[in-house]
Amino acid sequence: MTRVGWLKLVFFLVCLAPLAGLFWKAATANLGANPIEIITRATGKWTLTFVLVTLAITPLRKLTAQPWLIRFRRMLGLFAFSYGCLHFLTYIWLDQGLDIHSMTKDVSKRPFITAGFTAFVLLIPLAVTSTRRMIQRLGGRRWQWLHRLIYVSATAGVTHFLWLVKKDISRPVIYATILCMLLSYRVVVWAMPAVLGRRRRAAAMADVAGD
C-alpha cells in the first residue's frame, strides 16, 4: 500500500472513533440519564464536524500547497453522510418511535427540524454521486456544480443547531463561525481574479496616462 493509502486507513479508523465511543458508553451503561438525547447530540455533532472538515480540505490543500489532501475528501464527506444517517435514524426511530404522522408534522411545523431535514436530504445526492463512475457519467463540470449543494447543506445544518438550543448558543456559534470562514474563502477565491484583473487594468491605464 502507498503512504497515502496507509494514512487513509489510519484516518478511516480515527473517523470511526466517535461511533466506537458511543458503543462503549452504551455497553457500559454510561450514556447517562437520557441516553437518546446523548446519542442524538453526539451523532449530530459529528455530522456537522465532518461536513466542516470536508469543506476545509480545499482551502487547506491550496493554502499549504499539499495537493494529496484531496484524496481524503470523499472519505470525509462519506463519513459526514454516515453520521448524518445515524443522526436521522436516531430521530426517526429512537426519538419519534417511527411514528410517521408525528414526524411529518414535526418536519413541516418545527423550523429547526425543517432545517435539519433539508441539510440531510441534500447530502443524499452527493453521497450517491461520490463514486468514480458517477463522476465520469456526470462529467467533471456538472458533478462539481451538483456538489456545491454541500454549501447549502452545511448552512442548513448549522442553522438547525442554532435553532434548537434553548439559550446557550456558544457551541452552535463556533460551528457557524468556522462555516463562515470556509465559505468566505470560496467567495474570495471566486471574486479575486475579477478584482485583481480590474486593478491590473487600472494600473496599466494609470501608467499610460502618467507617461
Binding site: W24, A26, A27, T28, A29, N30, L31, G32, A33, N34, P35, I36, E37, I39, L94, G97, S102, K105, D106, R110, P111, F112, W163, L164, K166, K167, D168
Partner: protein, 325 residues
C-alpha cells in the same frame, strides 16, 4: 407500560438504590479490569461522584400527601441530569461543578408586603414544620420527566410566618448570586440572579412545597441545595433553586426566562400538552426511569397540569391558558 408499585415504598427504594449502585460499580469494575486506562479513570470519576451525592445527611420524614405509584427515577439520574444554569448549561455539569458549593451558613430573607419581615436561618427552616416525603412527577419544558421523592413541607407554612398583607398578590423568589462559586453566573446566558414568581394563591396551594431534600436526604447541591421550591404542575424551571430571598409584591414579577425569551416562557408555565413550545411539541414526554435506551424508547403522553388538574385546575378557572401560558 409503567411498572406499578405501592406508593409507600420510598424508604425501601433507598436501600435498593444503594445495592444497585454497588452492583453497578462491581460490574463496571469487572469490565474495566480488562480495558484501557481511560476507562479506569472514568470509573474513578464514577466512584467519586457516588461518594459525593451520598454525602447528604439523612432527614427525619413523615409520609406526605399526593403520592404516585409510578416508578421512581433513580437517585443517580436525579443527581447527574440537572438543568442548573448557574453552574453549567450541560446536564452533567452541575453534579461536578456544584461539588464544593457552600450551603452553610445560609439564610432566606422573606420580605415585601408582609406584617413581619424576617430572615430565616436554614437550620430554622428545617425545623419550621415536619418534613414530608412528597413523590411528585417533574416535567421539564424540554420534554423529559422524572418521578422524584422530594422532602419538604408546604410553602404556605413559611409564608404564614410573616403574615402577608392584603395588598400582596404575587410572590417573587430569588436564587443566590455568587459568581465565585457558580461558574455559570460568570457568563451572561441569563440575567442573574435567577428570579421566579407565582401568584400568591398558587404559592399557598397545598402542592407547592419548600423543598429541603430528596430520597430522604438533604438536597444534593446540584438539585438546588440547601432549599428550593417545587411546583409539580408547572414546568421545572418555575421551581427556583438555592433560594435566598422571597418577596411578596403587588405586581406580577418578571421571571428570568420570561425576560430572556418572552414568547417561549410565560409567567404561568403550567404543564399543558395543548400549548406547544414555539419550537417543539409538548404533547409527549420521555420518562427518565432508569430503564436505559430500550426502556425510554417510548414516549408517554403529557397530562394537563402534569396530572395535577384535580388539585390545581380551579386556580385557573376561566383563564385562557393559550394567552396565559
Amino acid at each position: 407500560m409503567l411498572i406499578k408499585k405501592p406508593a409507600d415504598v420510598a424508604s425501601s427504594e433507598i436501600t435498593l438504590r444503594r445495592a444497585y449502585l454497588s452492583r453497578r460499580a462491581f460490574m463496571a469494575g469487572g469490565a474495566a479490569a480488562g480495558a484501557s486506562l481511560l476507562a479506569g479513570r472514568k470509573l474513578l470519576e464514577m466512584a467519586f461522584l457516588t461518594q459525593v451525592v451520598r454525602a447528604g445527611t439523612k432527614l427525619n420524614t413523615v409520609k406526605g400527601p399526593f403520592g404516585t405509584d409510578e416508578k421512581l427515577t433513580p437517585f443517580k439520574d436525579v443527581t447527574t441530569y440537572n438543568n442548573f444554569y448557574e453552574f453549567s448549561t450541560d446536564k452533567d455539569g452541575p453534579a461536578q461543578l456544584a461539588r464544593d458549593f457552600r450551603t452553610r451558613p445560609w439564610q432566606v430573607r422573606v420580605e415585601g408586603l408582609v406584617q413581619k419581615p424576617r430572615t430565616f436561618d436554614i437550620d430554622d427552616i428545617l425545623k419550621l414544620a415536619s418534613l414530608e416525603d412528597r413523590v411528585y412527577r417533574h416535567r421539564c419544558v424540554e420534554g423529559w420527566s422524572m418521578v422524584i421523592p422530594w422532602v419538604g413541607y408546604p410553602l404556605s407554612a413559611l409564608l404564614k410566618q410573616v403574615d402577608p398583607l392584603g395588598k400582596a398578590k404575587y410572590v417573587e423568589f430569588t436564587t443566590i448570586l455568587d459568581p465565585k462559586q457558580m461558574p455559570g453566573q460568570r457568563s451572561r446566558i441569563l440575567d442573574w440572579p435567577y428570579i421566579e414568581g407565582l401568584r400568591l394563591d398558587e404559592a399557598m396551594h397545598a402542592l407547592a412545597i419548600l423543598c429541603l431534600g430528596l430520597y430522604g436526604e438533604a438536597l444534593p447541591n446540584q438539585d438546588g441545595a440547601p432549599v428550593r421550591i417545587v411546583l409539580p404542575w408547572k414546568y421545572g424551571f418555575k421551581s427556583a433553586k438555592s433560594i435566598v430571598k422571597i418577596r411578596l409584591v403587588e405586581q406580577q414579577p418578571i421571571s428570568t426566562w420570561n425576560r430572556a425569551v418572552p414568547d417561549e416562557y410565560g409567567f404561568y408555565s403550567n404543564v399543558n400538552p395543548e400549548v406547544d413550545h414555539p419550537r417543539w411539541s409538548q404533547k409527549m414526554e420521555r420518562r427518565i426511569d432508569g430503564s436505559g435506551i430500550f426502556g425510554s424508547l417510548k414516549k408517554i403522553p403529557t397530562r394537563m397540569f402534569n396530572g395535577y388538574g384535580d388539585q390545581v385546575g380551579q386556580l385557573y378557572a376561566g383563564m385562557d391558558l393559550r394567552k396565559y401560558f
